[in-house]
């Protein structure tokens, strides 16, 4: 049995040692917001937060999540409203087909949680590990830059279950 926390909930899963965290989240826990785009760590669609850090769920085994705190895009969402980061994505048309979006949101959330004052070059550098085929990236960068203010001071925007 592997025990970890998924989006604030304690879970216990019986998985083969070879199962990736991405497959475990999607197929076992049915958290299908985490998308699989390449399974070799290039595209970033499967990015989740493990103890607050952006991690490619296709490059981590489920058993390695033992005792960790895993947050997926579902865990960054509220039922009725969009978070400031999500609102900025919508406002800037930073998504089209939506397939890369969960990985972009989790990666940007991890970045802004650590570096709410990052500049455009830093945003581009960090998000260059996530592939988007639809938007050309420019609106994604604009959205992340706009969302910075929500991560400064007390206005912590995303809710990954952690208050730093």
């Amino acid at each position: 049995m592997t025990r970890f926390e998924a989006n604030g909930r304690a879970v216990e899963v019986a998985v083969e040692p070879r199962m990736t965290l991405a497959d475990c989240l999607r197929d076992v826990l049915r958290l299908t917001g985490t998308h699989i785009g390449c399974e070799h760590g290039v595209c970033g669609a499967c990015t989740v937060l493990v103890d607050g850090e952006a991690v490619r769920a296709c490059l981590m085994l489920a058993v390695q999540a033992e005792g960790r705190r895993v947050t997926t895009v579902e865990g960054l969402s509220h039922d009725d409203t969009l978070t400031p980061l999500q609102q900025a994505f919508r406002k800037h048309h930073a998504l089209q087909c939506g397939f890369c979006t969960p990985g972009m949101i989790t990666t940007a959330h991890a970045l802004l949680s650590e570096e709410p004052d990052c500049d455009a070059d830093r945003v581009r550098e960090v998000l260059s590990g996530n592939i988007c085929r639809c938007t050309g990236y420019i609106p994604i960068i604009e959205a992340v830059l706009e969302a910075r203010s929500a991560y400064r001071g007390d206005g912590r925007a995303g809710d990954d279950g952690e208050r730093r």
Partner: protein, 762 residues
């Protein structure tokens, strides 16, 4: 018809689910009793199948079945062509699974059904395949010499020759003061979608019904193919469109797996799901581009173009797939682009090779042919000593010449014409926004170790393929409206854009358009899908018709109850009223529904211009984009936000084709770029300086919305404009790029060759 929401930058309704991880893509579905399918693909590029032995695989616990061609009585079905289904292509069409021969690395040999994809992948390694290797044909020369034939019965590796003709080319060239001939090449790359392909099929034996999830692009057409192949009436098959992670022309065509998965589900009586992995995707999804040109232009001394002639070649890969001929055809027909070229004679030869079959990729044939044409134009303007802007401006088709006949394609006898527009508007706007005059002094100049280069190009973008599209409008019990479309969503924002059109057509607030259903075969009687930038043009016009019919039906129903003439009924947002002021609530008419259609065989032509400013590092061959301006006129803008998104997204894909993306094969037909580490895609840090300007100056006269296609304009001119900018930065060396992609090694090699050539010349 109001004009309240059309033209407004409305935020997308799709975003609410996508941003919260609540989209539902085909891979997210997991019905009870699901089996996972995995495809065994050929590791050989060309060979004869001697044996496939799955005995060991079947012994693995969790493996339920292994399906091969032998399980298909009468042999595996053949996938017919959807577009340009000419008799000459028949011998080259693809069976759904290899039976006697394999013709490319990645061709399906067997399908494993297992409790999980992981067990299925274990089983792949336990299947023994015996293939007698044959020499692989990997390039045009190998295809043309016919030493190794892919299809012995066809007797040749040449599938067809298209010819695009207009006027008398021989006469135009005979009398011309100036001619130039060039050989140019665009590399194989493709419309990689971030979501790999996937199919899930459920067979209901009791009802005799098949449900196929993961449909995209052209579900109605694919249903016709599947029904014929699998022996079911069309109405016994439901094609269900889920959220779709990108289309770009490549997803949603009928692929081998679109038969294999439903066939397997029917065989085993359980739901079967197949999700492509990225390695398969790179070798199994339609490849594209891969074209060469050997063309010659004739001009008068003042730069007026008199004629264009020559040969082009397109590498089809191993089979003619559903839309495989489109790119080659377009290369020939659209080489003239937005320019007045009175005499044209271009041949397009389609050659078969042992590589993944090709299909369309956003701007099919147009990206390639714009690179050929615009590259040639810059060389001509330079040689004639005419300003490159003036050369283009002088030769653009003028508004008074519309409609303007394009070259005719044979076989097919397809005639086409430019519908409308003033091409000088977008050129002038592009130059002004770009600041061409001020930047011109940078042309070819070395600053801080980098050479600066500027270029521009003009383009057309065809859209609105017919023959028809359908739409339906229905009133729900609470007074909300549901819209049903024959158009498909591939991530472009169909639900939002069509809600805007519906709200204005029905004269209702947009919130009342509760849902826009699209893509699945159950929604309208007949649908034609999403390709050739047709959704807004065709589906939008069909929706106007449906809305008009809905309002007429509502008036008629109200008139009956109000005892008045239908023409006297006034439709409000919440009720309908007669001339005497008596009103009935709209909800009284819940269930009312009307289907509309739009028929059209002509094409719309969006047009525009791009300009680029690049710098080149001569030591590394690295090219940086300092500024890039894209301007296009789409006739009528429904949503400027999603339109700009299409332009920039499309442009970055074009820059991927100009600089990075390349499907490379070795001489044995092995794909060398089978991962995203090797097949380089643009990332967030590559192209930050791009600008899009969208206009609605000249509505199309051939549809009631006045709309023209959008979404492909960004990609079409990108290769030509970038290559010209690189060439212009390197005028000091006389380096002329004639082949894409302009990766750093190629630019560096180009410079080295030019340096050596210059040294030898001195």
């Amino acid at each position: 018809m109001r004009n309240t929401f059309i033209g407004a930058a409305i935020e997308r309704r799709e975003d609410l689910r996508f941003l919260r991880g609540r989209g539902q893509y085909v891979g997210d579905l997991a019905p009870n009793g699901l089996l996972h399918a995995v495809v065994l693909r050929s590791a050989a590029a060309h060979g004869r199948i001697r044996a496939i032995d799955a005995a060991a695989a079947l012994k693995i616990p969790g493996v339920h079945a292994v399906i091969t061609a032998k399980d298909m009585p009468g042999g595996p079905p053949i996938i017919p062509m959807r577009l340009q289904p000419l008799p000459a292509f028949k011998p080259f069409e693809q069976p759904v699974i290899a039976a006697d021969k394999v013709r490319y690395v990645g061709e399906p040999l067997a399908l494993v059904l297992a409790d999980s994809a992981a067990i299925g992948e274990d089983a792949l390694e336990a299947i023994a395949v015996d293939i007698e290797a044959l020499p692989a044909v990997t390039d045009r020369a190998g295809a043309q010499n016919g030493g190794s034939l892919l299809f012995e019965a066809a007797g040749s590796n040449i599938a067809l020759e298209f010819r695009a003709t207009r006027g008398d080319a021989a006469a135009a060239f005979a009398g011309a003061a100036y001619r130039r001939r060039e050989r140019l090449k665009v590399q194989r790359h493709f419309g990689l979608t971030l979501e790999p392909r996937g199919v899930l099929a459920e067979w209901d034996a009791a009802q005799g019904r098949l449900r196929v999830f993961g449909a995209a692009k052209v579900p109605f057409f694919n249903r016709r193919i599947l029904a014929a192949q699998i022996g079911l009436p069309e109405d016994a098959i439901d094609m269900v469109e889920n959220d779709v992670g990108g289309g770009f022309g490549a997803r949603g065509e009928f692929y081998p797996e679109d038969f294999l998965i439903p066939f397997a589900a029917r065989q085993v009586g359980r739901p079967v799901k197949w999700i492509e992995d990225r390695r398969e995707n790179l070798m199994a999804m339609n490849h594209a581009r891969d074209a060469e040109a050997d063309i010659e232009i004739a001009c008068a001394a003042d730069g007026t173009i008199l004629g264009l002639r020559g040969e082009t070649f397109a590498d089809m890969g191993a089979y003619m797939r559903t839309n495989g001929a489109v790119g080659a055809r377009n290369v020939a027909q659209f080489m003239s682009g937005p320019y007045r070229i009175p005499a044209i004679d271009i041949a397009a030869t389609l050659v078969m090779t042992n590589k993944t079959p090709v299909g369309t990729y956003r701007g099919p044939g147009r990206f390639e042919t714009d690179f050929f044409r615009e590259r040639l134009f810059d060389m001509v303007a330079n040689e004639l000593g005419i300003d490159r802007v003036e050369f283009r401006r002088r030769n653009l088709v003028a508004e008074r010449e519309m409609p303007y006949a394009l070259a005719t394609i044979t076989p097919y006898e397809h005639k086409d014409e430019l519908d409308s527009g003033d091409y000088r508007i977008t050129l002038a706007r592009c130059l002004a926004e770009f600041g061409w005059t001020e930047k011109a002094k940078l042309q070819g100049v070395l600053i801080d170790g980098r050479y600066h280069g500027l270029a521009l190009g003009c383009f057309i973008e065809g859209g609105g393929a017919g023959p028809k599209e359908s739409a339906r409008v229905a009133l729900e019990p609470d007074g909300a409206i549901a819209v049903y479309l024959g158009s498909s969503a591939v991530g472009q924002g169909v639900e939002t854009v069509f809600a805007q059109i519906a709200a204005d057509a029905l004269e209702l607030p947009i919130e009342r358009i509760r849902a826009v259903f699209h893509g699945s075969t159950g929604y309208v009687s007949d649908g034609y899908g999403a390709y050739h930038s047709r959704s807004v043009v065709m589906g939008g016009s069909a929706l106007l018709d449906a809305a008009e019919k809905f309002r007429a039906a509502l008036r008629a129903a109200a008139a009956q109850r109000l005892g008045c003439d239908a023409r006297a009924v006034a439709i409000g947002e919440d009720n309908v009223a007669g001339p005497d002021g008596r009103a009935l609530p709209l909800t009284d008419f819940a269930g009312l529904s009307a289907e509309g259609a739009f028929h059209n065989k002509k094409h719309t032509y969006t047009y525009g211009a791009h300009a680029a400013h690049v710098t080149v590092d001569p030591k590394t061959g690295h090219v940086a984009i300092v500024d890039y301006v894209a301007v296009e006129d789409v006739g009528r803008i429904i949503n400027p936000m999603t339109l700009n998104g299409q332009v920039i997204g499309s442009l970055v894909q074009g820059l991927g084709g100009a600089f990075l993306e390349h499907l490379v094969y070795d001489e044995n037909g092995q794909l060398l770029t089978g991962s995203l580490m090797d097949y380089r895609l643009p990332t967030a840090s590559d192209f930050p300086n791009l600008r899009s300007i969208v206009l609605d100056m000249k509505p199309s006269p051939i549809n009631p919305l006045g709309a023209k296609g959008a979404g492909e304009g960004g990609i079409i001119p990108a290769g030509g404009v970038i290559a010209n900018a690189v060439a212009n930065s390197l005028t000091a060396f006389g380096a002329e790029p004639r082949e894409l992609p302009l990766s750093p090694p190629r630019v560096w090699a180009l410079l080295e060759e030019a340096r050596m050539g210059n040294a030898n010349g001195e």
